[in-house]
Amino acid sequence: MKLFTGFIFIAALFLFPGTGFTRESFILGVAPHTSARVILEMYQPLRTHLEKSLKIPVEVVTAPDFDNFARRAIAGEYDLAVTTGHQARLLQTDAGYLPLLTYKADFKAVALVARKSPIHAPEDLKGKNTLGLSPTSLVTLWGQHWLADNGLSAVPVRYVSASDSVAQLVVAGDAAAGFTSMANYQKLSSEVRAQIRILAESPTMAGRVYMLNSRYAAREKEIDAALWSFADTAEAKRYFETNKLEGYRKLKPKELKAMDRYAAEVRKSLTGAKGDK
């Protein structure tokens, strides 16, 4: 039987030379909180470190949007998913992912308006339009809840793909306000930031959480240790400093459970919309 299997394998190599043999990779899925290139660039130090530590190829992937990311994550495409708290809670509850750690820096969502905009209070947004990243992104969901809490449920939210685009569109006047994360706001260039101001910010929420696919449960400690050892490297410190993430920290008890409200929104959104796969 082994001989037959080997023969089939070799025959397959000859019949499909274009495919070749590819070693199974460890897929590090990062939620598309920014552009794909930025995500790839940000996570290259971690990828390299994990490859060395786990001794397997590691790929950093993302998704066109949060919905797709969530769907793929739930489908088990990612071995280690780095995503917002509410999606992490969804993955934990609906897909059996194991929460590992998160960043020290507080994750907050902010509502940005143009610095010279006449909007100084939430009610000033009445009759205006706003921008969000995607319907199921945490900042967008917070924004929508913030609008609803301020009696502005009717204010429409238009979705764009990148957080920096939100700031640019707000500056350009395409929308009265835009929702993004504090971290992304802080990463904006000084010129852009000089043209915008924060209208409102959320309370601290679970930001990006590292969720391990349950099929790697047996190596959870190893992978967790690898992540913590990465935090001690110079590359990690530079990464944390550059992205103002301050380092890793363990999840607080019930920190993910607090995201159930938003997770439900995502679940509802995913089940209501047709998958892209």
Binding site: A36, R37, A63, N68
Partner: protein
Amino acid sequence: MKRISLRRTILGRLLFIAVAVEFTMLTILVANSLRLLHGAMTTQARRQAEQMYPILKAALTAPMAQRDYATVQAVINESRSAGGVDYITIVDTAGHRVASNGWPKEIPLPEQSVSFPLFVSGAQARYDVVMPVSYLDQPLGSLHFGLNLSQIITARRSLLFQEASIAAVELVLSTVILFFLGYWITRHLATLTKASIQVASGEFPPPLVPEGDDDVGRLGLAFNTMSRTISDRVRDLHEQAELLKQEVEERRKAQEMLLYQQFQLEKLNRELEQRVADEVRKNRDKDQALLQSEKMASVGQLAAGVAHEINNPMGFISSNLRTLADYFNQIVRFDRIVWENIRQELSAETREVVSLNRESLEIDYVLDDGVTLIKESLGGANRVTKIVLDLKNFSRVDTPEYESVALNSCMESALTICYNELKYVATIRKEYEPTPEVHCHPGQMNQVFLNLLVNAGQSIVPMVDPGEIVLRCWHDGIFVYASVSDTGSGIPDEIRNRIFEPFFTTKDVGKGTGLGLSLSYDIIKRHNGEFLVESTLGKGTTFTIKLPLQAKQSDVDRSSQGVEEKS
């Protein structure tokens, strides 16, 4: 003038070289153009691939990272719609084709092309590119696309056709132009060649070739000048050659004359040498003959002297003996008468005494024997007289040189001389026929027969063979023959031709000089005779002399003189 083929003419070779050079250069030009075209197109295709790659990579990086394969498919669809690309396929890191356009799913993707197949046609005119899609150090997948090279190949074909056409037209035009150019340059060469051939064959002066100010015209001018000079020079050479020819002829005649004179001189020299040799031989023969003659003369004179001295006593001895014989006969007759008359008268006693004395004294025997003794003595005296006479005859000191004699008498004289030697080795048999006398030199004839008899005696081995020597003499009305035959050892064939050579002998040292037969031969020749030899080895030899009967003194003298002159 024989027409030469084009390839052997300057025009032909010029054309061939020019066309060959131009063909080579055009070939190099076209090949170089194709090479440059190939290089340029290769560079262009590679650059196109290199330009496509970063664009596609930039466009594909984000969707690949996002695994947004719909976007990836849209990107490659858009990219291929621009043309120039046969297919685009994206393979992820797991080896799955995540997006493809233009390449069937069931066919494996081609490998990276190693070269640009610009010189092939059809579906193979494609450059396959396999490039990784990565960002930073992270592989995202691979990009497979095939550049369509058909336009490049079409352009290459068009360029090749155009360049080949231009080259062919240029080659034809160059050939035509060079042909007329070469013909214009060499148009006078035929005339020049014809004139040169006439010059070479000696036809002077040759026809004038065209002259002018251009190169060919100057060549014609130079040729005309040269041909005139050569013509003058040839004329001078002809004259000098004629003089030289005459001189050579004269020298040849002189040389022939010299050769003839040399030949004559050599001939004379040879004749002189021959004459000297003959003279030497003749003188030697004459010396020998003279020596022999002197010897014979001495012997003859001695014999004549002895004969003369013996003849006188022998005269009165013979005379006295004859007288004594007469006297003794008278005494015998007287004794018989006395004895017959007195015997009766005597007493018996006396008669007895007388008879006894007579018997004891053997008077009767004495008387009888006395007659016999006297008779024998007289016979001996006569024999001595004959010997002396023969000696005188042999020497012939008292006879003229030539006279008519019978050859048998000469043989007898010779036999008398040597009989004492011959009688111990052979018996002598004589078979003389009556023959006319022959006019000859008797002394020389004696010498001839003496030599023959001595040789015959010496050829017979004594006490071994009962030798015999036969002397014959006969004639046939024209010649007189005399022969001496022996039963000796004979003459071997190998020396038969040499026995008449002077000083040739087979006898022991001291027994012969080798001159006997040589002198005898000369003597017979001087008598216009012949000397014949018949010999059988082991049985004997016969020497025959043949002398003419009609020979006159003058002939013999002339012959003798001739021989002497020759010798």
